[in-house]
């Protein structure tokens, strides 16, 4: 049965939607069209000397080994952040769901990291892992493992993945928990009576019924890993060492604002936008089919 909301006044719906459309136009459409325009230009930093160069900026991009490295780094980074944030959040949600005493306390504490700004989260983890002063580094040293993310690219990648995932776990946790509350207890009890153990109950009943939530969170987490992690990268590694954490969105900033290469940076923005749109379309097309509503 479909429910439809009917507005009697003909113009009212448009007026209600107008603010959101205005925001989308001003904060997305306008900058995006500027980026598209600038990506086919070559100009000096001040805009005094502009030349129309068709798709040369894009060509230069894909011939540049640093850009290809950035694509690879972004893929590794996004997948790692999304998978680890979702897996840990799911585990925590399952555990928190079973707690009876002090449930509210656990849930509140687990949600707090989401309130921390990305740059601040980056700085927090930077302090913990500072090669000279960090507590965790001290502990690793006693185990014989030398940590210096300023020199070792893999360690730098691990550090930013941990910082980025840590923040997002709270958000995912909240949704998973809410999703699990919506599962009728009768289903689980019936399975228990039939002799299914906790793991079996989880994988055959709870997880499939969580798929709408999981699907939503995958989309959100991927977009987060692509864009909202800029603050963390900027604070912790600045794309280094040697480009090991140079994700696409950071490269756009670095080339555009520090390198003052506006054409190249705009071309990167356009490619980044295309990638994320494509990913979202793919997710909606293929993964949504597997979602049980």
């Amino acid at each position: 049965m479909e429910k439809r909301v009917v507005f009697r006044h003909p113009v009212l719906p448009f007026l209600l939607v107008a603010p959101q459309i205005a925001i989308t136009l001003i904060f997305f459409m306008w900058p995006a069209s500027q980026a598209l325009y600038q990506s086919v230009l070559r100009e000096d930093a001040f805009g005094l000397n502009t030349e129309f160069v068709w798709l040369e900026n894009f060509g230069d991009l894909f011939r540049d080994p640093q850009y290809l490295n950035s694509l690879h780094v972004t893929a590794v980074f996004s997948i790692s952040v999304a998978v680890s944030a979702l897996a840990v959040a799911l585990y925590l949600a399952v555990q928190a769901d079973r707690v009876i005493h002090g449930a509210t306390a656990y849930k509140t504490l687990l949600i707090w990291p989401y309130a921390v700004a990305p740059a601040v989260a980056g700085v927090l983890w930077l302090f913990l892992f500072n090669p000279n002063l960090g507590i965790i580094v001290y502990a690793l040293n006693t185990l014989g493992y030398r940590w210096n993310h300023a020199l070792d690219g893999e360690q730098a990648m691990a550090l930013v993945i941990i910082s980025a995932a840590w923040k997002q776990i709270s958000y995912n946790f909240l949704f998973f928990l809410a999703g699990m509350q919506a599962i009728p207890k009768s289903l689980i009890e019936a399975a228990a009576i039939d002799g299914a153990g906790p793991a079996r109950r989880f994988w055959t009943i709870v997880f499939p019924l969580l798929t709408p939530t999981t699907f939503f969170l995958i989309v959100i987490n991927v977009v987060y890993a692509f864009f909202d992690t800029f603050g963390i990268i900027h604070q912790v590694t600045e794309g280094g060492p040697a480009g090991a954490t140079n994700i696409l969105v950071y490269k756009v900033y670095h080339d555009g604002f520090l390198g003052l290469d506006l054409g190249g940076s705009a071309a990167q923005s356009v490619v980044l936008m295309t990638i994320v749109i494509a990913l979202t379309v793919v997710q909606f097309r293929y993964i949504e089919r597997k979602v049980h509503y």
Partner: protein, 439 residues
């Protein structure tokens, strides 16, 4: 309802406002990149200028780091809201020089405003960096520094070395560092600004080119040459020294300062501008001395080059405002103001008159080592084609490339030859991109 008293009061206020607005001082905006203690010094200079006359009000605004300040200035120009004075760091010089419609050369500004200006009053090593090939000075030097060697006196004594005789050559640095490590220190020496000190200044100090076309002064069709056998030998030596902790990489820019201040490293090459923070933060005495060199290179040491920034005048303002800028630049060049700035920071005085004043005041006798940067800059005058400075476009990008390749070398992923070759190749691509935007 008719209220004559109120009407007259309002009219009087409006007229009074218009009259006082016409007599108000012309505002001049200065965007700079000095925070913390240096920011306070800048504010003091601005306040003193405002107190010294009543025609102009200088408003100094801190805009963030050098890169952020330059980016803010460029964005403001594109939006038509640029300040009168913009502080731009050394690596942005080529970009600013190429933006002919966006800037007013300082020499022209002073001439038009009728303020006397003599380029020869400035230290050649400083003024030369910001002078066009035709001899016209384009921007006003503000804070210039040059690298020096800092030595931890306590570490030297523990290692059995004489702190009054710091190492002069790189082999001596290696020997001293070995002894310091043997005395129990986790690090012999480290460096800040690895590109500026260990490659750019290294080239000038040894009188070898960093790039063709007089390091870019003579044209934009320049290519890099910092992968020569001498450069490779030096970088490879530093990389090899890491094994015994004789050299320890401290991080980009001057993040490694913590290693020296904490006493971890016995020696440290850093800008003379680091003096202020070391004096404030280090719990030990330290001495400054000349940058080390390789004794087997003929012509070494020649002179070092400056880093720091200069003040650029942006186009698009009124003649009245430009007169104010000229008056401020005249104020800034006064020996008293230069001496104040130099004495309270690690930056060098930019005029000969200021340096002479400091000598007369016996400043260098009371503060030994504070004249090392100036002596380094003016050693063996005049500067050669290799030691006037650098002028490369897109140099911010190039520095980033050099940092990446050097980090690969420090990590042992590449040899010095491989890393420097890659840096030269990638850097040249950036130079070609810049060259195209200048046509």
């Amino acid at each position: 309802m008719h209220r004559p008293a109120l009407t007259f009061a309002v009219a009087g206020a409006i007229i009074g406002g218009v009259v006082s607005a016409a007599n108000a001082a012309t505002e001049i905006h200065w965007w700079h990149a000095h925070g913390g203690a240096l920011g306070e010094r800048v504010n003091e200079i601005a306040e003193n200028f405002n107190a010294s006359q009543s025609d102009y009000t200088l408003v100094a605004t801190y805009k963030g780091s050098y890169a952020e300040t330059m980016t803010a200035g460029i964005a403001a120009f594109r939006a038509g809201k640029q300040p009168q004075i913009l502080q731009v760091f050394d690596v942005g010089t080529a970009t600013m020089m190429g933006a002919k419609g966006a800037i007013v050369p300082v020499q022209d500004l002073m001439a038009k405003a009728g303020v006397p200006f003599d380029p020869n009053a400035y230290l050649p090593a400083v003024a030369g960096y910001y002078t066009a090939p035709d001899g016209k000075m384009l921007s006003m030097p503000f804070n210039s520094s040059t690298p020096v060697l800092y030595s931890n006196v306590e570490a030297f004594e523990k290692a059995g070395l004489d702190p009054n005789d710091p190492p002069k050559t790189w082999p001596e640095v290696g020997e001293a560092a070995k002894k310091i490590v043997a005395a129990g220190y986790p690090c012999g020496f480290s460096t800040a600004w690895q590109s500026w000190i260990q490659l750019e200044n290294f080239s000038a100090w040894h009188n070898v080119p960093f790039g063709t076309e007089e390091n870019g002064f003579a044209g934009t069709n320049t290519v890099f040459e910092f992968n020569s056998p001498l450069h490779v030998k030096h970088i490879q030596q530093l990389a090899d020294w890491q094994k015994d902790k004789i050299f320890v990489y401290g991080g980009r820019r001057n993040l490694g300062n913590a290693k020296f201040i904490s006493g971890e490293c016995g020696m440290y090459t850093e800008s003379s501008a680091g003096y202020a923070s070391f004096k404030a933060g280090a719990k030990f005495d330290f001495v400054t001395s000349d940058l080390p060199y390789w004794p087997d290179v003929p012509g070494a040491p020649q002179n070092t080059i400056i880093g720091g920034s200069s003040l650029w005048v942006m186009a698009g303002h009124s003649d009245e405002q430009y007169k104010g800028v000229a008056e401020f630049f005249r104020f800034l060049s006064l020996p008293m103001v230069q001496s104040y700035w130099h004495a309270n920071t690690g930056y060098v005085p930019i005029t000969k008159a200021a340096y002479d004043l400091m000598v007369k005041l016996k400043f260098y006798e009371d503060n030994p080592g504070r004249d090392i940067p100036i002596l380094e800059l003016s050693m063996n005058p005049p500067p050669t084609a290799n030691s006037k400075g650098l002028r490369f476009g897109n140099f911010v990008q190039v520095r980033g490339i050099i940092y990446e390749e050097l980090e690969a070398i420090w990590a042992g992923d590449k040899t010095a030859q491989q890393g420097l070759d890659a840096a030269v190749e990638r850097g040249n691509a950036e130079l070609r991109k810049f060259e195209k935007t200048q046509q």
